[in-house]
């Protein structure tokens, strides 16, 4: 599994890490039960603070994509597949809406119209 962060990007480092793990889950490159790299090791490899990686992993846990257990590490959850794909689409939609000048309320209205 490849994770790359760009220190020159305006996107926060934890968001870059989180997005790549989400994409890996969505595309099936990591599957249910797979273990993600330990936070300390990933932080050392990427040259970032361990808390940056822990924040990214924490967000993924809150989204229901991974389980974080002491001693067992960070493990990809079964339900991750569909949710990750939807989240990725939602993020893309949100980014596009911002680009088009739509507010969050406009976007919500748009989604209600579709559904």
């Amino acid at each position: 599994m490849l994770i790359r962060v760009d220190a020159g990007s305006s996107e926060p480092l934890f968001a870059q890490i989180g997005a790549q793990v989400r994409a890996a889950i969505a595309t099936g490159r990591v599957a249910e039960g797979d273990r993600l790299p330990p936070a300390r090791e990933l932080a050392e490899s990427l040259g970032v603070n361990m808390h940056t990686v822990l924040r990214a992993y924490g967000d993924l846990r809150d989204e229901g994509l991974v389980d974080m257990r002491r001693r067992r590490g960070v493990i990809v959850r079964a339900a991750g597949d569909t949710r990750a794909r939807l989240l990725e689409l939602a993020r893309e939609l949100s980014a596009e809406a911002v680009k088009q000048g739509l507010s969050k309320a406009d976007l919500r209205k748009l989604l209600e119209e579709v559904g």
Partner: protein, 320 residues
Amino acid sequence: MELVVDKWQRRMVFVVLPVVILGLVVVAAGLTWGDLPNPLATRFHPDGSATGSMPRNTWLVMQLAVAGLCAGELAHIGRRPTPDAPILAAVASFIGFLVGLLGLFIAMANEGHADWHDVTMGNGAIAGALGGAIGWTLPVVQMARRIAPPHAPYANRAMPFGPNEHPAWFGHTRSIGFALAGVANIALGMVIVVTNQAWVGVVVFAIGIVLLGFTSVVVVIDGRGIGVRSGPLGWPRIRLPLGVIEEATPVIVRAMAVGGWGYRGSLRLFRRAAWVLRSGPGLELQLRGGQRFTVSIDDADEAAAVLNGLLARAAMPRSG
């Protein structure tokens, strides 16, 4: 026309030869079985007198096992030749013919004797077996060289990385064989501790723990280089900085070609080392100073691309 010759060579070397090797053992034992002493003489002093013996059945089973292994390996090479085909064919052919010919000479020497102490076998038989094995092996290696594919069947690619990018690649390989062997040894060790000599049980138990340590291997590639370590134990651990690596190539690793499973060879002593849990995709690193390190790893293609990308970026002069 070239293809026809190639096919014929494959059949000759890798179908006929295994049959000849196994045939030597079967014919030698079959023709003399009734006239062999039991046990029969299997070890000899340089003066020709017998110094050791073995039960007839054990001798035959050992002969068949070794010859079968060599014949099977030759047949496999013929079916799916790899870049290491010549060295593999050399080892399998030499050992196979040596065992087959020695078995034949031992059977001939034992034939007609009631007691193995009376058996004699001159040095000429051993020299003949060695000469015969070498004589058969040389053309086998020649033919294996002709059917072996080139060493790097894959096009090597390098993933581009920006100057501010920090990539980290994590990969692993698991081996069910090592896990089963480890658990079996641990269980056996515990049984031996209780029922037999305690120290033997402790040794078997310890071997089980070591085998469990080889259940998986973890590979980490980042801007510093590559790290390879045992998954469950974290040791052994190898760290190769980017500066000592020349090139990374995805390869198909065959455990038999590197001497078996586990950690094989030594970068310091033999300039070649391999960490192999299973045959299949692997990463081969060409190091500065002519050393070569191979590790079996899933998704080796991407691992090589990341490492080559990091090497390419390191080689570029940095602006500013």
